[in-house]
Symmetry: C2
Subunit: 137 residues, 2 copies
């Protein structure tokens, strides 16, 4: 998975540093849509000199090169997703978890591209509500 992370960086034209590989690897092995803080806290033990600024910088770099998704649905924190195939996201406002949502018509988003756009760099479909887990209580 270390190797997969490195290859993904190279594939998207990003030079693979220790920090970048670790962050990419974290996103590939944790499909939990982590926040900057979660990633930083998880990696700090194995990379003691890691700076939170580096996590910010790296995630934005990965996002701008199309290697990861940026999820802006949670007003409190930006989440990130290492898997870039077409899918939607669901935010539970109780536990603030972000879930993946498969969509039946993956061409829908492309079909409805805004006419006033000269260029589209990203598109996102979000749902907000309460998950079954939290709904029980």
């Amino acid at each position: 998975m270390q190797q997969a992370a490195r290859e993904r960086l190279v594939k998207f034209g990003i030079r693979p540093s220790v920090q970048r590989i670790a962050i990419m690897k974290y996103l590939l092995t944790h499909r939990t849509h982590p926040t900057v803080d979660e990633i930083y806290t998880a990696l700090a033990p194995e990379i003691p000199t890691l700076s939170k600024t580096t996590v910010y910088n790296t995630l934005h770099l990965l996002y701008e090169h199309g290697a990861i998704l940026l999820i802006s649905i949670d007003p409190a924190n930006t989440h990130f997703d290492g898997y870039t195939h077409p899918h939607a996201h669901f935010l539970c406002t109780k536990c603030t978890k972000v879930y993946d949502v498969e969509i039946d018509d993956t061409a829908f988003v492309d079909r409805n591209k805004p006419s006033m756009a000269a260029e589209i760099t990203d598109s996102e479909l979000y749902y907000v509500g309460v998950c079954r887990e939290c709904g029980k209580q």
Copy 2:
């Protein structure tokens, strides 16, 4: 339009105060998806005692009652929309304007509701890119 704003508040079970009417009216007459600051700056002259906290409180109240939409696509600012019919939004990263985007299949979002959701309170479809206006330069 003053009257339309008042009626909309009542329709959604919100008591119509001077401040609430003014904010609702602003959203109905300015289809620019304004931010908290834009609304506050615009209304402060006519309501000199207006507090920014009130604008925050009121917008969240309106949103929670379903009278307006909350647009979270812009990392820098939350935008609001007084028109709640099904449509998408497009953020230009150059001028940070938010445009309305009509969608061909308004049932799409409902059809793909996440299975792990006990309750859905909101759904949003976003596009990010550069608008024609900014693309010229």
